[in-house]
Amino acid sequence: MSDGLQELYQEVILDHNRRPRNFRVIAGGATQEGYNPLCGDRVLVSMAIDHGVVRDVAFEGQGCAIAKASASLMTEALKGLTVAEAQERFAQFQSMVTSAHDEPPADLGKLSVLAGVREFPTRVKCASLAWHAAKAVLDGAPAAPVSTE
């Protein structure tokens, strides 16, 4: 397997793809659907926000390994943050996956495993899908599905 592929499909990503964490819908939570019209992938992100703190995050849906692993890692990364911190984490994640791939990626802890998508421009949208949905919830949840287009 090529180096690029090994970077992309790291063990952590394969593991989250196989066994996604927080794969459910939070009853009574704020929800937002994310849709990638290019491939038909959908995720539903749900969040319980209480006094400006993200108490719980979950997702459901279908998608490729990158989309699923990114959503799963996101639910772990956002839980417990304040809304402002979570919005900041979104911005950091976006800049990590869209930065030039010869630059060292920003250190985002466990999320850094997704830096490999930088070498696969067509897959950046997969990695961002759940994040855009989460951002919409954090910003005050519009009704129409957010799209990565």
């Binding site: 397997m1 090529s2 690029g4 592929l5 992309l8 499909y9 394969l14 793809n17 290019l38 491939c39 038909g40 992938d41 279908q62 998608g63 490729c64 390994a65 990158i66 989309a67 696969f120 067509t122 897959r123 997969c126």
Partner: protein, 416 residues
């Protein structure tokens, strides 16, 4: 058919030598031999086509139909010569039955708007199939919205074959037009088009054939087929993008209003009233895609030189080989197993999303398409969000298929 008697070894040697005529197939992809298996999206171009376009620009470039100078005469001759090539390729009775469009999509929109605007009324029915490309669905939905006509859909069975019994039931006195693909880009199904056309004509309907896929895999003769309209697209015919073909029977085209207004399509213009040019120019408003037509003309001559006897035999042999090899990969399930198929192997793999398949095989030098193939209703029918699709052209060889199958084993290893 004589084609069936060509031995596999001979077709393989010929395919390998044809491959050499396509310069791009010599490049490497991620350091590997390129196995280009995304032909249903677009085909690669032979040197002859590339040279024809370069030659046009280096010896003949001018605007057409308007100058008296040398280059304009050359450009007009090259452009109209291409129309003759295309008319011969499709077996049209007259050269003016060939309208140059941008692509297959524009040909369908032209008919849906111009013919549909004149002939469709509230309560009339437009009959399509459940395996159409979006470009043979949406133009009819728009026409139905404007006219009050109703869109009816012939279902397909679990193998992806057209349900001919349902077709017979849905075809009725209200059916004004049947618009159907001759070869499904998502499933590879070849539809019994001659039979469809006979039945439609008996019911008093006209037929538009979406030949975007069929036209480079099967010999097409629009008169023998009895097609009223036939659309094709240059970039899948080993020709350039931005040029397509609409064939229409003279009497039908004559009775249709123009699609777009502008230069070239008029006979006379005053501020009170304009009159229309004759066929085909009535439907070709503005400066056409001259070098595109020249390239397409060269492409049709190239295909005719290779010949459909050989192309069909070679591709059938390769499809059988690919079908067996891909379905033998553990966890793979084919989508589209109709009894009459050409050129396409669509599949899903247990526990692996098609996008991940596409990315892994790409790194092994293999180009395939993953997604819904602009046929979301087909995906819904088979209950999958997307498939991976390998699609063949005349230059593919068993080596390409072996490379794909090796790469699919890598996919299995990554996602085991």
């Amino acid at each position: 058919m004589a084609a069936d008697t060509v031995p596999a070894v001979e077709t393989a040697a010929r395919a390998a030598s044809i491959r050499e005529e396509f310069p791009i197939l010599g490049i490497e992809a991620h350091g590997r031999r390129l196995a280009y298996l995304d032909n249903a999206a677009t085909t690669q171009k032979p040197r002859e086509v590339i040279d024809a376009i370069a030659g046009y620009y280096t010896t003949s470039n001018a605007n057409v139909h308007r100058g008296v100078h040398l280059l304009s005469e050359r450009a007009t001759a090259a452009f109209e010569g291409a129309r003759d090539d295309v008319a011969a390729y499709f077996g049209a009775a007259h050269r003016h039955e060939i309208i140059f469009t941008r692509n297959a999509t524009e040909g369908i929109n032209l008919v849906a708007q111009s013919w549909g605007g004149r002939h469709l009324a509230a309560g009339d029915e437009v009959l399509i199939s459940a395996m159409e490309h979006h470009s043979n669905i949406v133009p009819w939905q728009l026409a139905c919205e404007r006219t009050g006509a109703v869109l009816k859909v012939v279902p397909i069975d679990d193998r992806g074959a057209l349900d001919m019994e349902a077709f017979g039931r849905l075809l009725g006195p209200r059916t004004k037009i049947v618009a159907m693909t001759q070869l499904s880009n998502a499933l590879g199904t070849v539809t019994p088009m001659a039979e469809i056309i006979r039945a439609a004509h008996d019911a008093g309907a006209v037929v538009l054939v979406d030949g975007a896929q069929a036209a480079y895999h099967l010999p097409v003769h629009v008169q023998a087929l009895g097609a009223d309209f036939y659309v094709a697209t240059g970039h899948k015919l080993y020709g350039p993008t931005g040029i397509g073909v609409l064939y229409g029977r003279e009497a039908l085209l004559d009775a249709m209003p123009p699609y777009q207004g502008g230069g070239d399509m008029i006979a006379s213009v005053t501020f009170e009233k304009s009159t229309w040019n004759t066929l085909p120019y009535k439907f070709e408003a503005g400066t056409p895609h001259i070098e595109g037509a020249v390239g397409l003309g060269a492409a049709t001559r190239f295909i005719r030189r290779i010949g459909f006897d050989w192309i069909a035999a070679h591709e059938a042999d390769l499809l059988a080989y690919a079908t067996a090899a891909v379905s033998a990969v553990p966890g793979v399930r084919l989508v589209g197993t109709a009894p009459v198929k050409a050129s396409i192997v669509s599949f899903v793999m247990d526990g692996v999303h098609p996008h991940d398949i596409g990315t892994v095989v790409d790194r092994m030098g293999v180009a395939i398409r993953t997604g819904h193939h602009c046929a979301q209703p087909v995906m819904a029918r088979f209950g999958v969000p997307a498939t991976a699709r390998a699609s063949l052209a005349m230059y593919n060889t068993r080596e390409d298929i072996d490379q794909l199958v090796d790469a699919l084993h890598d996919v299995r290893r990554v996602f085991a």
